[in-house]
């Protein structure tokens, strides 16, 4: 066990994978001598050299396209996109190629690329360094979409991603890269996909969150507890595949659901959760499903705090749900 920040845990995960498996290569902009703009690849260049820690020209199309080629050939590329906001030049490669390669070839060409990218707001990054567009990827068959919220999960999910057989979009909540610290198992620690983490158990209302919204929801649960409301909090961890049974089981217990994400509400991931509850847990619901999300506006700069969900907003939504019935 070591006490690490989230970004350090990712760094350890990468190093662990590279040490144990010579097929793992890291590529991206500024990942080499600079150690990544967030320092996630710090020290890797020194340890593994330019052949395995590849500073690429400034082209996301090239990064993901060549990562796909590396994967087809049998290597295990871990591509870094500097910010999720800059992934769109590679969107074609991700949704048309990486996600569909196995399927369209009848299983002949698996394509296990890991795309790591920091996402989310709260760092005064303005429109293009803050967005949360996980729904685009969740909507695409063939992609797995993962969002850790703790250092241990960051390392464990990353190692699972690197050794998975399918392409993974690994979204890193950059806002809590350094603000959360936790005990992280040493060595080849793996956390399975498709299993939500129960952060705390409760009986009155279920909070569903992921990424940087988990600490906010945790605070909200603590506030609610003082008011006599027992909130259960699930950290979804993998959005695709989703741990549907955990979501349903929780609402069957509490009868109330508050879904939290930074992304805009319309067609956001919360819509899928709400639909799931409508389809499979409707009769357990005592109150309408609530969503605490970003607004349906572009991500702002000056008014960032107004935009972002926070503890107060989550508490208010949970209160309203409890009051409803």
């Amino acid at each position: 066990m070591s006490s690490l920040t989230l970004v350090q845990a990712i760094n350890r995960g990468l190093a662990e994978a590279m040490r144990t498996d010579p097929d793992v290569v890291v590529l991206g902009e500024d990942v080499g001598t600079n150690g990544g703009v967030f320092r996630a690849t710090e020290g890797l260049f020194k340890e593994f050299g330019a052949e395995r820690v590849v500073d690429t020209p400034l082209s996301e199309t090239g990064i993901i396209g060549s990562a796909i080629g590396l994967a087809l050939y049998g290597l295990k590329p871990v591509a870094e996109i500097q910010f999720l906001d800059f992934i769109y030049p590679a969107f074609d490669q991700i949704v048309s190629e990486m996600a569909k390669m196995r399927y369209r070839s009848g299983g002949q060409f698996p394509c296990h690329v890991v795309v790591r990218t920091p996402y989310g707001g709260g760092i005064r990054g303005g429109i293009y360094h803050s967005q949360s567009t996980e729904a685009y990827f969740c909507h695409t068959a063939g992609l797995k979409v993962v969002v850790p919220s703790t250092p241990a999960d960051a390392k464990g999910l990353l190692l699972t991603a690197i050794h998975d057989e399918d392409p993974v979009v690994f979204l890193e909540p950059k806002r809590i890269y350094r603000s959360v610290t936790g005990e992280v198992p040493d060595g080849d620690h793996r956390v399975p996909f498709g299993v939500a983490r129960t952060v705390r158990e409760g009986t009155d209302v279920s909070l569903f969150a992921y990424g940087a919204m988990v600490p906010a929801a945790e605070e909200a649960a603590a506030v609610l507890e003082k008011e006599g409301v027992s909130a259960e909090l699930l950290d979804l961890r993998t959005l695709s595949p989703l741990d549907e049974s955990a979501v349903i089981a929780s609402v069957e217990k509490t009868g109330r659901a508050v879904i939290v994400h930074e992304a805009a509400r319309f067609c956001g991931f919360g819509a899928e959760l709400a639909a799931l509850l409508a389809e499979k847990a409707l009769y357990s619901l005592k109150a309408p499903v609530a969503r605490v999300t970003g607004f349906d506006t572009p991500f702002p700069y000056a008014l960032e705090q107004l935009y972002l969900p926070n503890t107060e907003k989550i508490v208010a939504a949970a209160r309203a749900a409890v009051r409803a019935a």
Partner: protein, 358 residues
């Protein structure tokens, strides 16, 4: 793999000069491909297959380039490269099965005709978005560098694809990392209705390589031998660590862009007739005739043989059934997710087995 299994191609000879027996073999493949082209267009008109993208006029470029490759090389095709697959040893039946998307199609009927994937001969799954294979070919070549393999990747693409994002990114990465990649651009003068002159203002497509710090060469794509030696040279340079080459094979698309296209709307019959005079298949026939390797009867036999092989393959493909319904849910991921299993059950196509989908 399904029953139509695939064997790797034999290695070509060391010399960059193609010996006569090889040329005769090449002709067989070119004729087979030409016959298939013509048959497939007819089949599409009759509604027996859904779509077809012909490659008539490009046979020398395709076969000549493929002959210069070795078994460990990887091919990243677009959608006109079935003759490359033939040269690498893919049975005709496997190709025709793909046109039908039947139960024997190695890709399980998942794609439109012409979007082949033949893992065993390193013929990577083709997709429709133009250009995407180019960066992938560079990535696989980086993998070869990493594994210290003596092999190259070859990316096939058209003149239109030189405008794509992946052309720019792919050639740039290849230049920076000096990857063992052959970029094989078949300039067939048209990107659907857009003539080459309006695709880009550069004098040749080959010279675009200079923007990425490596050499580009122009080759007469109707000349089987010239293509063979250009690709052989590029391949040798690449495995020796000399980096990538862009080859522009100048050809002419004799047919429509695809069965959905009516080229009369944008080009004249006269232009096509003129181009027909350079028909690469006839050129090879002429060569073999004039050197005495084949007489007209021998050539006729090659065409006859091709016709009967294609007819047979068509009959077999047509009588094979569709892929099983449950396969709709397979290969989305390595294993069936709970959600897909549920959807499969709901659709009444219970998955064939527990756990792994293949």
């Amino acid at each position: 793999m399904a029953e139509s299994s695939v064997t790797p191609a034999r290695a070509p000879p060391e010399s960059v000069e193609l010996p006569v027996p090889q040329v005769e073999n090449a002709l067989r493949t070119m004729v087979l491909a030409r016959v298939l082209d013509e048959r497939a267009i007819a089949l599409q008109r009759q509604g027996r297959i859904g779509f077809y993208a012909p490659h008539s006029g490009q046979e020398a470029a395709l076969v000549g380039s493929a002959l210069a490759l070795r078994p460990p090389d990887w091919v990243f095709p677009a959608y006109r490269e079935l003759s490359v697959a033939l040269v690498r040893g893919v049975p005709l039946q496997a190709i025709v099965d793909q046109l039908w998307g039947n139960v024997n199609d190695l890709s399980k009927g998942r794609q439109m005709p012409n979007h082949f994937a033949f893992r065993q001969v390193h013929f990577v799954s083709a997709s429709s978005p133009i250009g995407t294979q180019i960066t992938q070919a560079v990535g696989a070549a980086m993998g070869m560098q990493r594994r210290k393999e003596s092999a190259v990747t070859i990316a096939y693409f058209g003149d239109g694809a030189t405008s794509s994002n992946d052309f720019h990114a792919g050639l740039n990465f290849a230049g920076v990392f000096r990857t063992p990649t052959v970029f094989f651009c078949q300039n067939n003068q048209w990107a659907i209705s857009l003539p080459r002159a309006r695709q880009t203002q550069s004098t040749t497509l080959a010279e675009k390589a200079e923007a990425y710090g490596f050499a580009g060469v122009v080759v007469d794509g109707n000349d089987l031998r010239a293509v063979y030696s250009a690709v052989s040279d590029a391949r040798r340079k690449a495995v020796e660590g000399g980096g990538p080459t862009l080859i522009e094979a100048q050809v002419y698309r004799l047919g429509p862009h695809s069965t959905s296209d009516d080229p009369h709307r944008y080009r004249s019959d006269r232009e096509v007739e003129e181009a027909r005079r350079g028909d690469p298949v006839h050129r090879v026939e002429e060569e073999l005739r004039s050197c005495g390797a084949l007489d007209q009867a021998g050539i006729d036999r090659i065409w006859e043989e091709a016709r009967s092989r294609v007819a047979q393959a068509v009959t077999a493909a047509e009588s094979a059934g569709s892929p099983p319904s449950a396969s709709l849910f397979e290969d989305v991921f390595a294993t069936l997710t709970p959600r897909l299993r549920e959807e499969s059950e709901a659709a009444g196509t219970l998955p064939p087995e527990e756990g792994r989908s293949r």
